[in-house]
């Protein structure tokens, strides 16, 4: 009986190992990508939202996205990867890419300071202090970015910071296609 107890660590480890193995297999076959999970929202309309704007306080709703191809970028000041991503977003904004920010589970005062200090790449920033919109989106963490087309449909989702590689390999072609297809 005593001997059996000594097997507990092994069993716990075996379960974990099998789990990791399955995840790795799925990553290998492309079925699961922790950095770019096919969102449940893919090709579905972006959830309805009605949140105050972080800077002006005015209520912002889905109408702000109407008739535009927009990146919806979930970020927060507590997230170091967002800090890494921020300069690149500024660059994209300068190039004319439309980005709507979702300030997720964050301290509004800190977030305003952040934008004031580092620059604001966003068309509008939704103040999602309670994380309700994040929950609707199925956000796992920040940063996370969604590409929404003119009809308000989610076309692409990316977890992790947007950088040169993501932009040139995936995002830019997709954005160009969507803009062209729907009559830019």
């Amino acid at each position: 009986m005593q001997r059996l107890k000594l097997f507990i660590p092994l069993i716990v480890f075996a379960v974990l190992a099998i789990f990791f193995f399955v995840v790795q297999k799925q990553i290998g076959s492309g079925a699961y990508d922790p950095q770019n999970m096919p969102s449940a929202l893919l090709d579905k309309p972006l959830p309805v939202f009605q949140l105050p704007d972080l800077l002006s306080g005015a209520t912002v709703a889905n109408a702000v996205l109407q008739d535009k191809v927009v990146l919806v970028n979930v970020w927060a000041t507590w997230c170091p990867s967002c800090l890494y991503e921020h300069p690149y977003l500024l660059k994209l904004a300068q190039q004319g890419v439309l980005i709507v920010g979702v300030d997720y589970k964050d301290d509004a005062a800190k977030a305003r300071q952040w934008l004031q200090e580092k620059g604001n790449p966003y068309l509008a920033v939704l103040d999602d202090r309670a994380g309700t919109f994040g929950l609707d989106l199925g956000v796992t963490g920040a940063p996370e970015t969604y590409l929404v087309d003119r009809s308000g449909t989610v076309r692409w989702r990316y977890q992790g910071p947007i950088d040169e590689r993501v932009w040139s390999e995936t995002l830019q072609p997709l954005l160009a296609k969507l803009t062209a297809a729907q009559g830019g």
């Binding site: 990791f20 990553i27 999970m37 300071q113 200090e117």
Partner: protein, 656 residues
């Protein structure tokens, strides 16, 4: 041609590592002294070959040989030489080679410093370490060869080391961390050797104690450096992010801390043997798991500069073999006969066990916090993010209890303490820490603050009980100095390490409570105030570094009309990585406060957005880490380890 020599040296190293597994093991089974003797020279050979490979790679970096793929990816001809050298481990392949080199260095260290170890144990220990080396060498040669070439058309210039890594802290942080990680492989090898031989006794604990301590102290320094690096480089004054990569180094540290305490009990009292072995296996397993999590791309993080999912399966299989087989061995061979419990519920053993359990629970909660989002998500149960709130909620209570135990534990006797005696001895310390704890926030800020009261009470509890214990130890000596001389280095090591932990706790608690920060727009010649300090912004100028150009600000800090410091925060743009702008903060450091200034964005008319931080006691976090490492170092220097080891070998020889 030269890089191929490095590749060849790695292949030779693999052959030697295989021999290091096979020959000594055969020696153990066939009781052949000659075969067992081969372990030492083989370990040395492994180290020489790995060193050759490392030197070749370092040479390629220093000479800007951009035909080597990782040199082209991670270096640049304009990079200063020390960053070129540090760039060797700035990516996946190079950091693996560094890992491997450190493992071989540990093998040699064991071969040299274990003269007193019985030959069959040495053969077993080196055989286990050889097996780990085989795994890492195979991994490197099959999936991540550091000597891959970009031929026939090598690039003329490299794409430069990630600017975040161009920091003095980053030159020494990874080697320290790896020395710690890999150092637990020695404790692990000793544990496996003990299970294998069936001689799981107090002697085993004594042999592995100094090794575990050295590994732990390197890991402590490594983590402290990593935190300091994040503070000074990420540019926004944070010093710990509960990021997966940080957690990967923190988990082995927590378990390693439990291990060094548990080893002490096993050494001194011969109890908790199975538990100690399990901790040794866990500490190394978590080091490997950390590598897996960081390298496989299963978890993403800002710090993992070298992730590649395709390699995940290999590491996972390797991990499965190492951890699976050692836990199987543990399940089959660990002693089941419980020791006669000759310690009571109030004894040093019990408090050490309590501290062990707390540390293990802490490590497991970090593990689950790190893995939880992944597990829940891949089982399609929903999506969660686990952030600092979870870790803080778990850690504050756990560490509070741990600190209470740390105060009581050392004042206890082995076997049995008397409650009334303990109470009488510790009551003054309890009252003093309560008084200091409640008085501190009023004295410092004239305001009550719960977090500060808790922090200061607990930290001063540890410090005061340490003083009480020291006084108690001296009560029979003829005078202070004679008594102080009589105490052992190991005892002083414990005192310093415990006080170091209290100092770190003070740093964490007080910085969290009293940090002040402001983001403002300042025009040239404009003043700003923060926490009683005056900041004068005198504009910016353009400067050039070896491989970057920068805007360099000048901010004069003054207090009560007296100038304290001139700070030069910078915004750097690296020549080879145009789109990455680095915020180089400037810090006026002090024991009781840091003043931290970072440039934000340039605004109109020479005005800038700046971020000012006032961070009291932040240095204490790392100072405490250094004290802990110093304590560990003192303990290792204690001559009793070596003397006792000799005594046991003699005893064993006589018994045989």
């Amino acid at each position: 041609m030269v890089p191929e020599l490095g590749h060849f040296a790695l292949i030779l190293a693999l052959c030697l590592a295989v021999a290091l597994v096979v020959l000594p093991a055969a020696g153990v089974f066939r009781r052949s002294e000659l075969l067992m003797q081969s372990a030492r020279p083989l370990a040395l050979g492994l180290w020489v070959m790995t060193s050759v490979a490392f030197a070749v790679l370092a040479q390629a970096f220093l000479n800007d040989d951009f035909s080597v793929a990782i040199v082209a990816a991670q270096s640049n001809s304009e990079l200063p030489w020390f960053y070129k050298f540090a760039a060797v481990w700035g990516g996946h392949e190079g950091s693996l080679l560094l890992w491997m080199w450190i493992l071989s260095a540990w093998c040699v260290a064991v071969a040299i410093f274990s003269r007193q170890l019985p030959l069959d144990m040495l053969a077993r220990v080196l055989c286990v370490m050889g097996a780990v080396a085989v795994g890492f060498l195979l991994f490197m040669l099959l999936t991540s060869n550091p000597f891959g070439r970009l031929l026939p058309n090598p690039p003329a210039e490299g794409s430069d080391l990630n600017p975040l890594l161009q920091d003095p802290g980053m030159v020494i942080h990874p080697p320290m961390l790896y020395f710690g990680y890999v150092g637990f492989s020695v404790a692990f090898a000793f544990a496996i050797a003990a299970l294998w031989s069936g001689k799981l006794d107090a002697a085993w604990a004594r042999w592995s104690r100094p090794w575990s301590m050295v590994a732990w102290l390197f890991l402590t320094i490594g983590i402290a450096l990593g935190s300091w690096w994040a503070y000074s480089v990420l540019g926004w004054g944070g010093w710990w992010f509960w990021d997966p990569v940080e957690n990967a180094s923190f988990m082995p540290w927590l378990v390693g801390t439990a291990l060094i305490h548990s080893l002490a009990v096993t050494d001194k009292r011969g109890v908790f043997k199975s538990w100690t072995v399990l901790l040794a296996i866990f500490a190394f397993s978590l080091s490997l798991l950390g590598t897996f999590l960081v390298r496989s791309g299963v978890l993403t993080s800002v710090h993992s500069f070298a992730a590649d999912p395709t390699r995940g399966i290999f590491i996972l299989v390797f991990l499965g073999v190492v951890i699976g087989s050692s836990l199987t061995l543990y399940a089959l061979r660990a002693p089941t006969v419980a020791n006669k419990t000759d310690y009571s519920w109030l004894s040093r053993e019990i408090f050490l066990l309590g501290n062990n359990i707390l540390l293990l629970v802490a490590a497991l909660s970090v593990l689950s916090g790190t893995l939880f989002p992944l597990i829940v998500d891949s089982l399609h149960l929903g999506k969660y993010s686990v952030g600092p709130p979870y870790f803080n909620a778990v850690f504050v209570p756990l560490m509070s209890i741990l600190l209470v135990f740390m105060g009581i534990g050392p004042s206890n006797n082995w076997k049995r303490s008397r409650a009334d005696e303990l109470w009488r001895r510790l009551l003054p310390a309890l009252l003093a820490s309560l008084i200091v704890g409640f008085a501190f926030p009023f004295a410092y800020r004239g305001q009550f603050h719960w977090g500060v009261v808790l922090t200061v009470c607990l930290a001063s509890w540890v410090i005061f009980t340490t003083v009480v214990d020291l006084r108690n130890k001296l009560r029979n000596a003829n005078g202070w100095s004679a008594g102080l001389r009589r105490l052992t280095p190991a005892y002083y090591g414990m005192l310093i390490a415990h006080i170091g932990f209290a100092v770190s706790v003070l740093g964490v608690g007080l910085t969290t409570a009293y940090t002040e920060e402001r983001d403002l727009r300042v025009a040239v010649g404009e003043h700003a105030q923060l926490a009683g300090y005056d900041f004068l912004f005198s504009g910016t100028e353009s400067t050039r570094g070896p491989n970057y150009s920068a805007e360099r600000g000048l901010i004069v800090v003054a207090r009560d009309g007296k100038q304290l410091a001139e700070l030069h925060p910078e915004k750097r743009r690296y020549n080879a990585r145009r789109d990455q702008v680095m915020t180089e903060a400037d810090i006026d450091a002090g024991l009781f406060r840091d003043i931290y200034v970072a440039l934000g964005e340039p605004l109109e008319n020479g005005a800038w957005a700046v971020r000012l931080h006032y961070k009291p006691f932040v240095r204490w976090i790392w100072l405490g880490g250094l004290l802990m490492a110093l304590g560990g170092g003192l303990t290792v220097c204690d001559g009793r380890y070596r003397l006792q080891r000799r005594a046991t070998t003699v005893a064993a020889a006589v018994a045989a």
